[in-house]
Each structure stands twice: as structure tokens, then as C-alpha cells.
């Protein structure tokens, strides 16, 4: 996947965007519905917050509620972006207008950017219009205006909208009809609902720096998804890709078989995957460094990390024997088993965490005692477990990389299946290694 973004003619992008914008606002009922929601929700929320303040709600409660209200105000219009994007891409495709558009000299990137810009413009205008109305109606005279939190919220909203639009493009490449696209939109709505719940929880925590971190993550997510959408958005994909072929189960079985065929042996595979393996290997020292700094500075309270460390120490020390070995082994196998499906959803971050998380705990433990004590606690079982985690982490990172890599010619499923097959084949070696590590841990403590 090329890291550079293709060049585009901004004038052409503006032409496409203007038409789509005009189309989006050409239906009076649609405008009325959108404006009504944009105004009704902020005004209703503002009345609720001010009413609570007036009738003696505690300051902390009113302040938290004021922020949660802001979250709802931007969330509802943001959800329009998905509908508008599906309509803009799949709808055009269904009405055959997209074929005409792709037969012009416009580049793929210009069509894509123009359509994304139009959807973003409508959605963000509604989000920010609502937010401005809400802020004016809620915070005026309240004596409380959390600028930093609101800016972080506004920023993460842009990224959420961008992520949903990019997701809609990816769906449009795989759905022939609006009905199919609406069903497939669940794949965006469900993860986004989790994201929004996390955001709501962070707002309730009332720590602006967490919201900024969240906004940063959303920027990365939006960039990755926009890039995926762009890579997959091609004339070829829109007009020629086979969709809805017969015998789907037979074809899926054949694809699965193909994924396992002609794959290299373990050592050759490790050589092929040296870059993701290096990233996974780097996770351990990076995690150790981060954990050490977190422990020293108290950035993460001891009350959060210490119980985890204590439970690990207890698990290793209390039950010696077969039961403890099985418990350790099962725990590690479970972590390895979850790493792959999570890698698809997290773009491989779960693979990185396989080494980063133990590294973090090691570093944190070192900050509370010393490096020699912490490392002594890891040895000798780490001699087997850490290389196994690096291999599993590297191969899971590869699965994640495959899941965010799209090509105009398609082949996404084949690439993800092949990377997963590599991981599953490697487990033939990794699971016995985990068993040895568990035995060592129990025997040698």
C-alpha cells in the first residue's frame, strides 16, 4: 500500500461536491427534518440542563450533564452522515448515475473526495449548528464553559463522521443495492455505538485530556478508513466486481482451502513477516518503557495496575502443579485466540498488545521495585513465552494490516484469509511452546 495520497484537482473536487450538496438539500422535507432535529435536540437538552440548574441540581451533576447534552447534540446529526454517504455512493450506483460519472476524465480520488466533502459538509454543518445553538442556550449565564472538552468533542465528531463516511464507501463497493447497503451498515453502526459509549463514558469522567486522547485515536481511525475507502474506490470495483455470486458457501469453502494452500513453512514465513514481527518485538521494550514511566509519574494510578500485578503473582505462586500450569496455559491460549479476530477489528493493535501489555506490566513492576527484580520474575518462562508472543503478535499485526489494505482489484477476503491461515498454521508450534512456558513457570516459579 502506497503511503502517499494521490494528487487531485481541487476545482474538480469542488464541482463534484457542489452537485452532491445541491442534491442533498434539494428536497424540502429532508431539509426540514434535518433542521428540526438540529434545533429541537439542542433546545430540548438545554432546557433540561438549565432546568436542573434552576431547581437546585448539584454543580458537579449539572456540569457533567451539560457535557453529555453536548455529546447527544452532535451525535444525532453525525449519524446522518452514514445515510447521506450510502445514498451518495450506493444510491448513485443503483440509479446508474455513477457509471456516467466514472466515464468522465475525473480521477477516482476526485470523485471520492468530492462526495466525501459534500457529505461531511452537510453532516458537520448540522453537528456544529446544533452545538452552537446548544452552547448558546445552555452555557450562557451558567458560569461554566468547558472550552477544552467541547473542542475535543468537536474534533472527535469530525473524525467519527469521516470514519462513518469512509465505512459507507467501503460498503458501497460491496453492495449493489441500497437495501443490501442498509443491512451491511450494521457493520458500521455497531462499532460506532461502542465508540460513542466510550466517548460518553470519557465525558462523564470529566477529564479533558482523555477526550483529547480519544480524539487523537479517532483521527487515526478516520485516516485509516478514508484511505481504505480511497484505495478500494475504483471504476473497476464499481462496475466490474462480482457480487452476489451463486453457491456462496461452496465459494467460501474454496476460498478457505485456497488460503491454506502453498503457504511457506514456519521459518520461511517468519522471514517473510519480519517487519510485523519486528513491530511486535518492539512492543515489549516500548511497553516496558511506557509502564516504567507510568509507574514513576503516577500517570496511571497504582490502584488500577497493582491488582493486575498481584493477581499474576498469585497465579504463578499459589497453585503449583498441574492446575496452575493448565490455568496459565489456558490464559495464554485464550489471549492468542482472541488476538486474530480482534486484529481484524483493531487494525492489528491487538497483535501489538500481545507484547506491549506484558512489557507494560514489567516496566510498571520495575518502577515499583527494580528492573532486576522485575526481570527475574519474568525469567525463565519468558524465554519461551516472549518469543511465542512476538511471533503471534507479528502474525496478528499482519492480519490487521491485511484487513485495512484495499485494492481496486479487490481480493480483501483472500488477503485476510491468507494472513489468518498463516497465524493458525503457526499455532501448531506456538501452542506447544505455550505449554512448555506454563510448565516452566510452575516448576521454576
Amino acid at each position: 500500500m502506497s503511503a502517499s495520497w494521490p494528487s487531485l484537482d481541487r476545482h474538480k473536487v469542488a464541482i463534484v461536491a457542489q452537485r452532491d450538496l445541491r442534491d442533498a438539500v434539494s428536497e424540502l422535507r429532508l431539509i426540514l427534518a434535518m433542521v428540526a432535529l438540529t434545533l429541537a435536540i439542542p433546545i430540548g437538552s438545554a432546557i433540561g440542563v438549565r432546568g436542573l440548574a434552576y431547581f437546585g441540581g448539584g454543580t458537579a451533576v449539572v456540569e457533567r450533564l451539560a457535557l453529555v447534552g453536548a455529546f447527544f447534540v452532535v451525535f444525532i446529526p453525525a449519524s446522518f452522515s452514514l445515510v447521506l454517504a450510502l445514498e451518495s455512493f450506493v444510491g448513485e450506483r443503483e440509479r446508474t448515475t455513477l457509471e456516467v460519472l466514472v466515464s468522465t476524465p475525473l480521477k477516482e480520488v476526485e470523485i471520492y473526495a468530492g462526495k466525501v466533502a459534500a457529505v461531511l459538509a452537510v453532516s458537520l454543518a448540522l453537528c456544529y449548528g446544533g452545538l452552537i445553538v446548544y452552547c448558546l442556550a445552555t452555557f450562557t449565564g451558567l458560569g461554566y464553559f468547558p472550552v477544552s472538552t467541547l473542542i475535543a468533542l468537536a474534533l472527535s465528531t469530525i473524525c467519527q463522521v469521516a470514519a462513518m463516511v469512509a465505512g459507507a464507501v467501503i460498503i458501497s463497493l460491496n453492495a449493489r443495492t441500497m437495501r443490501a447497503a442498509n443491512v451491511m451498515a450494521s457493520f458500521i453502526i455497531l462499532p460506532m455505538s461502542v465508540v460513542l459509549q466510550v466517548e460518553a463514558a470519557l465525558i462523564l469522567l470529566g477529564r479533558a485530556e482523555f477526550l483529547w486522547g480519544f480524539a487523537g485515536l479517532m483521527i487515526v481511525l478516520a485516516a485509516v478508513l478514508l484511505r481504505m475507502g480511497l484505495d478500494g474506490f475504483s471504476r473497476e470495483a464499481l462496475l466490474a466486481r462480482e457480487v452476489g455470486l451463486r453457491q456462496p458457501i461452496k465459494r467460501a469453502a474454496a476460498a478457505l482451502r485456497t488460503a491454506f494452500m502453498h503457504r511457506p513453512g514456519l521459518f520461511r514465513l517468519l522471514w517473510h513477516r519480519r517487519i510485523p514481527l519486528s513491530i511486535a518485538a518492539a512492543g515489549l521494550p516500548i511497553g516496558a518503557g511506557a509502564g516504567f514511566i507510568a509507574g514513576l509519574t503516577g500517570a496511571i494510578p497504582g490502584s488500577v495496575v497493582k491488582p493486575v500485578l498481584s493477581s499474576l503473582i498469585q497465579a504463578a505462586g499459589e497453585d503449583s502443579g498441574a492446575f496452575a500450569a493448565i490455568a496459565i496455559f489456558s490464559h495464554n491460549v485464550l489471549a492468542f485466540a482472541f488476538a486474530v479476530p480482534l486484529a481484524v477489528l483493531t487494525a492489528g493493535v491487538s497483535g501489538f498488545l500481545l507484547t506491549f501489555a506484558p512489557g507494560f506490566l514489567l516496566g510498571y513492576a520495575a518502577s515499583q521495585s527494580s528492573w532486576s527484580v522485575a526481570i527475574a520474575g519474568v525469567l525463565p518462562n519468558g524465554l519461551v513465552e516472549i518469543p511465542a508472543a512476538i511471533i503471534a503478535g507479528g502474525l496478528a499485526i499482519q492480519v490487521g494490516a491485511a484487513s485495512i489494505h484495499m485494492e481496486p482489484s479487490g481480493g480483501w477476503t483472500a488477503r485476510v484469509l491468507t494472513a489468518t491461515a498463516d497465524y493458525l498454521r503457526a499455532l501448531r508450534w506456538l501452542i506447544p511452546a505455550l505449554a512448555v512456558a506454563a510448565l516452566l513457570e510452575v516448576r521454576l516459579g
Binding site: R22, V100, S103, P105, A240
Partner: protein, 264 residues
């Protein structure tokens, strides 16, 4: 000068071979008519010629430009009119045509002048400010034809350009296309109308199951079909007779091959 040169063009969609080894060429001011049943590969051929789809094998050159390496430059020189007009329902004809004119970088004055004269020619001026969603099938097809030719392309690729038009409008459309042809524009037309194909007096390609079974002018096709030597045909065979003979022979041969492969 050869404007369109297609050599060994093959296009595969996954397991489906839509087009196999198509070789045709069209000179400046000439016309190629593609005949064939639905699914014969005509639309795929047009899309590849328009630089919209990349060939699986073979090459397409328009005005000397390779469609595989410079598809955008090819699309600038081509006007594609797909079978379905693909119009934006909530736009007026005037705004719609202006939109496509601006995509092709036509200066505002030029595109206004051309749009107005073409709307006049196709008797759409009175309806030009109505939304396209309210247009009849024939009116839509006229707008699609104007859109495809607005930027004065060197090559026009049209899939059944007059199928929805009344006889008078169809005649007007053909006169317009022939005028463009006289100015050096090359035409590739897909049609099911044998009469239209005969009247266009250019080369004719007969396609079936993704293959070009025969390409040539009417007399060449007569010879290839073997019909001109048959005594029972008192008059010269029509294109309809030729088409049925060629496609029928191919189908018989195809069925024989299938039966042989089954028995083997």
C-alpha cells in the same frame, strides 16, 4: 487515420469471461456497429474502449493513447452513452449538462452556447429547467446523447442510442451523429436494430458469447455468412438474415462442442 484500435481485447469478471480476443479498428469519421444478443459482451467492450474498465488482456488505443496506461486521457477523448441514461433526477437538464460540461473543462461561454443549441436541436428547450425526474424515456435519452457529445469527443461510444426515441427524434439523432462523423468523429454503436445497423453503412461486428464472430462491411458479412451464394435467396439477404445465419451457425457449433465434451 485509425482512431480506435482494439487488439485481442479480453475481459474477465472473476470466473466469467465477458469478452474474448476482440480485435477491431475504427478510422476517423468511420462507424462500427456492434450487433449481438444481450450478454454478448457489447457493453463490456464499450466500457473497455471508453477507458472505464481495464482489459484483462489485449490493448485499446484511442487516438494513439493506450487506455491501460492513460485512461483519463482516453476518457477525455471519448463520449460514452450507456444503455441507461443515468441522469440525476433532481437536476434540470440545463444544470445537468452544465455540470458535465464543467467536468470536461469547457469554458462557461462555450458550454452555454453548445447546451442551448443542442437543447434547441433536440426540442428540449421548453423543458430545460424542469427536473430530469419528470422527463419521459425519450427525453432522457436525448439528454444523455447531448451529455455524451457535449465536449465534442473524438470517439462516441453509444449503447442503443435511439432505442427510446420516436421515429422523428431518432432520425434527428442519427442526423446529428452523422454530422459529428463528418467532422471526423468516430462512432461505435451497439444496437439491436438491424435496420439502423444497415443504414449506418459502416463496419459491422457480430458478437456472441463474448466473441466477435464476424467483422466487416455488409458485403463482407454476406460473403462470410454464405448466404449470397444460396439460390433460394432471390434478393440480396438483409442484415437480419446474415446475423441469424452467423449467430445460428455459431450456436450450432457451440452446441455440438458441448455435446462432444459431454460424451467424452
Amino acid at each position: 487515420m485509425t482512431l480506435l484500435e482494439v487488439k485481442g481485447l479480453t475481459k474477465r469478471y472473476g470466473d466469467v469471461l465477458a469478452l474474448t480476443d476482440l480485435t477491431v479498428s475504427v478510422d476517423e469519421g468511420a462507424c462500427l456497429v456492434l450487433l449481438g444478443r444481450n450478454g454478448a459482451g457489447k457493453t463490456t467492450a464499450l466500457r473497455c474502449m471508453a477507458g472505464v474498465l481495464a482489459p484483462t488482456a489485449g490493448s485499446v488505443r484511442v487516438d494513439g493513447i493506450d487506455a491501460a496506461t492513460e485512461p483519463a486521457a482516453v476518457r477525455e477523448r471519448v463520449g460514452l452513452m450507456p444503455e441507461l441514461p443515468g441522469l440525476y433526477e433532481r437536476m434540470s437538464a440545463r444544470t445537468y449538462l452544465d455540470y458535465f460540461g464543467s467536468i470536461y473543462d469547457l469554458p462557461p461561454q462555450t458550454r452555454t452556447r453548445r447546451i442551448e443549441s443542442l437543447l434547441e436541436l433536440f426540442e428540449l428547450k421548453d423543458a430545460a429547467d424542469r427536473w430530469l425526474g419528470s422527463y419521459s424515456k425519450g427525453m432522457r435519452q436525448k439528454v444523455a446523447l447531448i451529455r455524451a457529445t457535449l465536449h465534442r469527443p473524438r470517439l462516441i461510444l453509444a449503447d442503443e442510442p435511439t432505442s427510446a426515441l420516436d421515429p422523428d427524434s431518432a432520425r434527428r439523432a442519427w442526423v446529428y451523429l452523422k454530422d459529428l462523423q463528418k467532422d471526423g468523429c468516430a462512432l461505435v454503436i451497439c444496437t439491436h436494430s438491424m435496420e439502423e445497423a444497415e443504414n449506418l453503412s459502416g463496419e459491422i461486428g457480430i458478437m456472441s458469447a463474448g466473441r466477435a464472430l464476424a467483422v466487416g462491411d455488409l458485403s463482407e458479412l454476406r460473403r462470410k455468412s454464405g448466404l449470397q451464394t444460396r439460390r433460394e435467396v432471390r434478393e440480396l439477404p438483409t442484415l437480419q438474415d446474415i446475423y441469424l445465419a452467423i449467430v445460428g451457425n455459431h450456436r450450432d457449433q457451440h452446441e455440438r462442442e458441448l455435446a462432444e465434451s459431454r460424451s467424452a
